[in-house]
Subunit: 246 residues, 2 copies
């Protein structure tokens, strides 16, 4: 069934009103008709089964049939720090990362990061947010992941976490600590996990040292050298898998 | 250090001769110079440290310094059956799948497969093989994965395996059997594993039934609906991860 995240103000007690953009998608792209059922999410942890009622090019309304349980949203809040890179690759990580279960993306700027202009990132914010929303709707997430503005490494390392957070940084020279070793020997299931993936050139040795001094744990993603985008998706998937949250 | 797979006939007892294409890459692209060291692999399980000697545009030779241990090659032989699809997406799976540790790729044609012409696949064979070789050199594999010609589902289901093979088919309606449940309760570590990922539209119910009747085990890749290319990479990574082979 098609799923749509709607702004809370569009969701009433018994009826929903789809915004123009979504209405166009329903009417012209998906060609849904009155009587068709869809799922509406409020991005606040609720999902509703909705029967489409009135369908016009720019205005669609529906009747809420019932609230349905939210599935597809991991318990663990996983934040992925990923080196800012060329558009295609970065947007690909946003899409796949959302499918895999990442809850927040923070573009990272390090010494070897290819793309450095924070300004352009500002302009891309809207496009990035649309990519993760669409992916979240497609793969069955209960909430839309957040895409933050880029951070330089020092700010990223000292990120002000709301609560206790397990902070992992993938490092190709880490041969001892695999994700399983780390995640299966925790005193308790972490509520929040941060995973940092360096840029194409990797993090430099002293950047890794800075991370360790800031309390980040270096981890291995296996014996093979993964490209940054592969490391991001595989690392996120393995983390949630090990926490029983994939 | 740069790594190159060479045909066995180019690797002598004490010297190696790089084929024209590789020679061009070394000379013009990577701009390596005499005295530089590279790693040469024979795709037969051996790797050698080689010092470049004579470098010309179309002919490069090197001296074998010593044989070095092969790392980066999984013990488990994982065959990935993946629905034939549009070029970019398919080649992306070849590249990432090689990084993750897939040993053989078999393009699959099912009822809902988007791309169906086996002929075009014939022409692409060479290009596909170059993609996996380059990825294998980059990520540190010891062998080049094989890319087979496409198979229709019935042939794929009855594939003549050389030995006992655990055959898994990812299915979105499988809610009980996760990869961990399956892989952690095996009598012994499987030498060969096959993982089948359906096309964009998924496998039909009776295609799944055919698979089960042929002895394939349906498995879940988690609660979220992954796109086929994401399912292929995440499924392959989790399989090797669970077998301690990533």
């Amino acid at each position: 069934m098609h799923r749509f995240f709607l702004p809370p103000e569009n969701i009433g007690k018994s009826r929903v009103r789809f915004p123009a953009e979504t209405a166009h998608q329903i009417h012209a792209v998906l060609r849904l008709r009155p009587g068709h059922e869809v799922i509406v999410l409020n991005n606040g942890g609720q999902a509703f089964r909705v029967r489409l009622e009135d369908i016009r090019p720019a205005a669609v309304t529906g009747i809420i049939l019932d609230e349905i349980p939210l599935t597809g949203e991991p318990k663990t809040h996983l934040t992925l720090f990923i080196g800012l890179t060329q558009r295609e690759k970065f947007e690909w990580v946003l899409q796949k990362g959302t499918e895999v279960g990442v809850s927040a993306f923070i573009p990272l700027i390090t010494r070897r990061t290819l793309v450095r202009e924070i300004e352009t990132a500002h302009n891309k914010q809207g496009r990035w947010q649309r990519i993760v929303q669409e992916a979240a709707e497609q793969c069955g997430r209960g909430r839309i992941p957040e895409v933050h503005l880029p951070l330089e490494l020092p700010q990223a390392l000292d990120y002000p976490w709301p609560g206790p957070t397990l902070r992992l940084v993938a490092w190709e020279n880490e041969t001892q600590n695999g994700l399983r070793q780390i995640l299966q020997h925790l005193p308790e299931q972490p509520q929040q996990v941060a995973l940092m993936i360096g840029p194409e050139g990797g993090l430099s040795l002293d950047e890794i040292t800075q991370a360790q001094e800031a309390g980040w744990v270096t981890c291995s993603l296996g014996t093979r050298i993964l490209r940054m985008e592969t490391a991001a998706i595989v690392g996120a998937a393995l983390t949630l898998h090990e926490l029983g949250d994939l």
